[in-house]
């Protein structure tokens, strides 16, 4: 009994001691916190901190090196606070940062948000007044797109890379050989693709399979539908909910259903890696590198990762398969938002210098291409610095990539209609997820439904925008004069 009281007293005592310890701890922290603040204030007197935030984690090491060089060149900047997050965390964080008036000096346009809305909201400032004259001339033609990088022909953001496809195909040459297939003759049509996948799966006998995907992420399927569908004449791209060729949602047409049939067939053959359902894209990429799948549908950013981490992986690359009738269109790639400068920043001049050095300097853009991370939007850099598979991939996708019409640059009020547009559920990607993973086969009526609802949603968005005074109509989404095998020219 006595022991218990003793124990109780001891624990109470220790609690009290802890409490005091904590108090004093708190105070010391407060002090150090204040000291830090003081230090920062001092910093403000003889040094400046630039804050940069994005989700470019794969190039972080290069950025850090770049920051060292930048601070050497501009000694008034004594610290660059660089934060990389995942894309979703970035969106959450930046929203709250803006609301508290405390956003980083330089950050990219969050994915899924329209630049004109954000500019209207006072997020970014125009870049032309703060950068040196002629700075924008160093970029490749067509780098800046209305509604994505420009508002009313004023540039607000600079993309980190050129437009490129995200649903190209990589294949494992070793597994091709094991299945008795010629690694130099990748499949060209849907039928061949399915056949190859089946043969690889058979040869694998449970060790490896035809195709692997990051099946938990529906956006991976979105890219496949959009890009493979567009090669088949669907006219889909990220800047319009409907086909830019017809002005109608193409999901029920052959251009898209062919893709669904192909994946249903692959699933029926058992050619899809059984772990696809529970994988994210980076996980699938690693498992492909481990030699567990013949094909993976991915983009350029894998090349650097594989070359660095899996030098033993012998992979080939190919453009997506097409129907027996051949290619009916091109991948219509849309630019990315990229970096802008915070409207309320204290150091617009230095933020501008940062961008000038990042894009115009000798170091960063070359390194990013040389190390096989991104295709630089600065003219001439890819041609100079790209090597090996990275260059091969670039040349390969340029055969099937075009700059299609951008509805927003033809009529800026399109932005207002897209701002009213509400996505339809289930999306094509979600239906595809069901088809490829869980045996959903009744997809035709669903796609029919999807097309109808998408058309209705766009119509509704246009009406709502018109009610608010926007000068926009259905005709702004149709480009009958566009030949989808070529760049769009009015």
């Amino acid at each position: 009994m006595k022991k218990k009281w003793l124990g109780l007293t001891v624990s109470l005592l220790s609690l009290i001691v802890f409490l005091f310890a904590c108090n004093s701890n708190n105070e010391t922290i407060k002090e150090t916190g204040n000291a830090n603040e003081g230090a920062q204030e001092e910093n403000d007197e003889d040094g400046i901190t630039l804050r940069v935030m994005d989700w470019s984690d794969s190039t972080r090491y290069l950025r850090e090196e770049f920051h060292e060089q930048f601070m050497e060149k501009y000694p008034e900047v004594t610290n660059i606070e660089y934060t990389t997050l995942t894309q979703q965390q970035f969106t959450d964080t930046i929203l709250n940062a803006i609301r508290s008036g405390d956003a980083p000096d330089i950050f990219p346009v969050p994915l899924g948000f329209s630049l004109p809305v954000l500019v209207d909201d006072g997020w970014f400032q125009p870049l032309e007044p703060i950068v040196e004259d002629g700075f924008f001339d160093i970029f490749r033609e067509g780098t800046f797109q209305e509604g994505i990088n420009m508002v009313d022909e004023t540039i607000y953001s600079i993309p980190q890379q050129t437009a490129q496809p995200t649903a190209m195909v990589f294949y494992n040459k070793e597994l091709f050989e094991k299945a008795g297939l010629d690694p130099e003759q990748p499949p060209k049509t849907y039928e061949e693709f399915r056949e190859y996948a089946r043969k690889i799966t058979e040869a694998g006998n449970g060790e490896f399979y035809g195709l692997i995907e990051g099946g938990k992420q529906s956006n991976r399927f979105k890219f496949a539908i959009q890009e493979w569908g567009s090669l088949n004449g669907a006219g889909l791209a990220d800047n319009s909910p409907v086909s830019k060729l017809t002005g109608e949602a193409p999901y029920h047409t052959e251009a898209v259903t062919d893709i669904f049939d192909l994946f249903a067939g692959l699933a029926d053959d058992g050619s899809i890696h059984p772990r696809t359902s529970s994988l994210t894209a980076p996980e699938a990429r690693q498992i492909f590198a481990n030699g567990e799948a013949g094909f993976i549908i991915q983009g350029a950013w894998n090349i650097g990762v594989w070359n660095a981490n899996n030098p033993e992986l012998d992979y080939g690359m190919m453009t997506p398969p097409v129907s027996d009738d051949g290619r009916q269109g091109s991948i219509d790639s849309v630019a990315q938002g990229g970096f802008g400068v915070y409207a309320e920043t204290d150091h617009p001049d230095l933020a501008a210098k940062y961008l000038e050095e990042l894009y115009g300097g000798d170091f960063y853009q070359h390194k990013v291409v040389e190390n096989q991370h991104n295709y630089s939007p600065v003219a001439g850099v890819i041609e100079e610095a790209a090597t090996g598979e990275f260059l091969e991939f670039y040349e390969l996708f340029n055969e099937i990539l075009v700059h299609g019409p951008v509805p927003e640059s033809e009529n800026p009020d399109v932005t207002k209609a897209l701002g009213e547009y509400v996505d339809v559920t289930p999306s094509a990607a979600e239906i595809m997820q069901g088809v490829a993973i869980s045996g959903l086969r009744d997809y035709e009526p669903m796609l029919q439904d999807l097309s109808e609802q998408t058309d209705a949603a766009l119509e509704k968005a246009i009406t709502e925008a018109q009610d608010k005074g926007a000068d926009v109509g259905m005709e702004d989404f149709i480009f009958p004069d566009w030949d989808p095998m070529k760049n769009y020219k009015k």
Binding site: F113, V117, G215, R275, Y421, D423, P426, S438, L440
Partner: protein
């Protein structure tokens, strides 16, 4: 005289009692105040703002908030995928809560035995899933439940299965699998709560029962269980509330798939509020889903409460 004395005495005691009551009331309010303040600022206030968002057309990023009244709710109740999520979250809750409660209690009772050696080690091990990182659980479970994973291997060795099942990829099996993982994850924390509850039972009661010759099961059902009911009700409530709001687990295991088979209300809200494709994300609509869901649950609870009190009243009549 005597009468007057008594009334005076009564008055005195009643005024004493009043004083005492006022004293207690004062302290009670003082005691609940800190928590009420924390609650109001950090929970009630966000709920109020989510009401406001729910009645607006708002992407979550821009400062353009357009008031649309009940339009979001109208759209919501016409969306069969919302009702699918609504149904799923109840399947999830009813599937997982009873098991995690019972398993937690079982472990608690076994490991509460002071004479069982290594009990503290067992308790720690059972608790480990609670603190294992969610992203790790997602990857490990992806392995374990895949067609060439441990579960299928075991079932095929035992001759229960001829062909492996893609547990997380099949529309039929994904939900039961998620439920099993949830039970596995939550048993540890339930065990802790039950253990805490078991400590409130005076040991003398057990001793008396054993002297009367009662066995394990009889003691458990006649002493332990009845005395655990008050705290058990709290644990149950917590489990239900927690399961109805499940998010992390589903997000890491299936992300609501395959084809909405495990889509629950919180993942539904997430994809509406944060993930736009061509359209903007819809924070307003997502908030409406949250508000609608929360209030229908509360409404359901009130009905149950009303029926219960009515049943009780009838019994006494």
């Amino acid at each position: 005289m005597a009468n007057a004395n008594i009334t005076a005495g009564k008055q005195q005691t009643s005024s004493l009692r009043k004083k005492r009551n006022r004293y207690i009331m004062f302290w009670c309010w003082l005691f609940v105040l800190p928590n009420i303040i924390l609650f109001t600022l950090f929970q009630a206030w966000p709920i109020v703002t989510s009401w406001y968002y729910a009645m607006s057309d708002w992407s979550g990023l821009s400062s353009q908030i357009e008031f649309v009244g009940l339009a979001n709710f109208q759209e919501l109740i016409n969306d069969k995928y919302f009702w699918n999520a609504y149904k799923n979250v109840f399947i999830f809750t009813f599937g997982s809560v009873p098991f995690q409660l019972m398993l937690g209690l079982l472990f608690a009772v076994i490991l509460n035995n002071p004479k069982l050696k290594f009990a503290s080690i067992y308790r720690t091990l059972i608790f480990l899933p609670v603190i294992t990182s969610a992203s790790i659980i997602g990857i490990v479970m992806g392995f374990i439940w895949s067609t060439d994973g441990g579960v299928n291997y075991l079932l095929m060795q035992l001759g229960i299965l001829d062909v492996p099942i893609d547990f997380l990829g099949s529309m039929k099996w994904a939900m039961p699998t998620v439920i099993m993982v949830s039970v596995w994850m939550s048993t540890g924390i339930n065990m802790i709560f039950w253990l805490a509850g078991l400590q409130g039972i005076p040991k003398e009661l057990y001793e008396a029962a054993y002297i009367d010759g009662a066995g394990h099961f009889k003691t458990f059902f006649s002493i332990t269980l009845p005395l655990l009911i008050p705290i058990g009700a709290v644990i149950l409530l917590f489990n239900v509330a927690f399961s109805l709001r499940v998010f992390d687990l589903i997000k890491t295991l299936t992300d609501g798939g395959p084809f909405f088979a495990t889509d629950v209300v919180s993942t539904y809200i997430y994809s509406a509020a944060f993930a736009g494709e061509i359209g903007q994300p819809r924070m307003g609509y997502g908030s409406a889903a949250g508000v609608f869901f929360g209030f229908t649950i509360i409404f359901l609870m009130l009905i149950i409460q009303y029926l219960r009190s009515k049943a009780k009243a009838n019994r006494y009549v």
